[in-house]
Symmetry: C2
Subunit: 232 residues, 2 copies
């Protein structure tokens, strides 16, 4: 390896998004140390070359250490680098975006995270506001041709909950019929142990949610079809 003064620092940041009260929100914490002590920032940390097997492993470790969280959906967003973004010198931040149901996040992140509407951000440390803007744009774009928003729901969800998620992301209300035809849903009824067809977006389970009169069937996402079809 090269001398330390010629090598940038490398950290991983995570834009952790959730839906709360009908708004897409980002999880921020107050920095405990300088630079930017006390200011709001994304969760993140340096790559530990002695323990991390990949950049994604760094992202998972950082979240685990801060909150015990392990998001089911995490992808790399983009890498930011330059001499100005951190006062300590030339630095590289490999930014990730993760989606997580609000119930899970607020439980694991209690006392650590504060939630802010992504369209009304407070002042943030470093270039974190820019990272959040890019992450939100990515999620809104991908929502139009993928099942990405499903990851904002619990593992099992009703079709009504799914419709609510899409409406919240796009800020548009649609009728139940319109939603289902736009979604072009193909639902597979898979018995446990059997595998789903790649063409099916959702997998119907044998479980139902509440209601004495009309219990709603619970679905889960078919991981095989994650980016297979236009949704919206």
């Amino acid at each position: 390896m090269k001398q330390s003064h010629t090598t940038p620092d490398v950290s991983v940041d995570v834009v952790l998004l959730t839906l709360d009260e009908g708004m897409l929100k980002v999880a921020l914490h107050k920095r405990a140390s300088a630079p930017g002590k006390g200011s709001l920032a994304l969760p993140g940390g340096y790559v530990h070359v002695d323990e991390d097997a990949s950049l994604e492993a760094t992202a998972y470790r950082v979240l685990r250490e801060k909150t015990g969280l392990e998001p089911r959906y995490l992808e790399q967003l983009r890498t930011f680098g330059g001499p100005e973004r951190d006062p300590r010198g030339w630095s590289v931040a490999v930014s990730h975006v993760a989606l997580i149901p609000h119930g899970e996040l607020s439980q694991a992140g209690a006392g650590v995270f504060h939630f802010y509407d992504v369209d009304d951000l407070p002042d943030l440390a470093f270039d974190h506001a820019g990272q959040i803007q890019e992450a939100v744009q990515r999620v809104r774009n991908k929502a139009s041709y993928s099942t990405l928003p499903c990851w904002l729901l619990p593992e099992l969800f009703t079709l009504t909950q799914l419709q609510g998620i899409y409406e919240q992301i796009f800020g548009e209300t649609v009728s139940r019929g319109t939603f289902r035809s736009r979604l072009g849903i193909r639902v597979s009824e898979v018995t446990p142990g059997e595998s789903a067809d790649e063409a099916d977006i959702l997998i119907a389970t044998e479980q139902f949610q509440g209601g004495n009169q009309r219990p709603a069937r619970l679905f889960r996402v078919n991981r095989l079809s994650l980016f297979k079809r236009a949704f919206w």
Copy 2:
């Protein structure tokens, strides 16, 4: 900054793509030094913290130093990192993809680059084969909803040349009429100094190419509409 043994090395690699003899090809060079001396690799190099203003600046500097090239289209692909990808230790490679017309590339890169069909790659150093596969997938995906392939043409091009580029990328021949309707072309006739409408994909110039009988009008890309419409 941290001690050098706890910080990964950071380099930038560029997947330089071009169209040659109807095939999408990648520019590779033979490594002059260890590790992997003599093996084929993507152009790349370490971030120089004393001179580079950003990761993109590193990518442009590396290409300039190797060949004098400055691609008109360059974007970040993804960042690869881990303890195994380089025998020198934990390393991070910020991978970029660039598109360049073959005439420009073969002139500037003469004696430096060798060109290989992206669907029939030789053995490559490090994780460069994986980087190329991701870059090609990205370009083929984006080609279906953007003017990206235009960057494989010279700055001024005819509609016939443009059609040829799309056919080469997708491996499908279409009639002239079908191509133009799929393209949904909106052409703006802009006089010098005037700015184009964001809705127009191509800008008609006052220049024509060859042919005594039916000279073909030359067009250029409207940068404002780069990712505005579905193409294919």
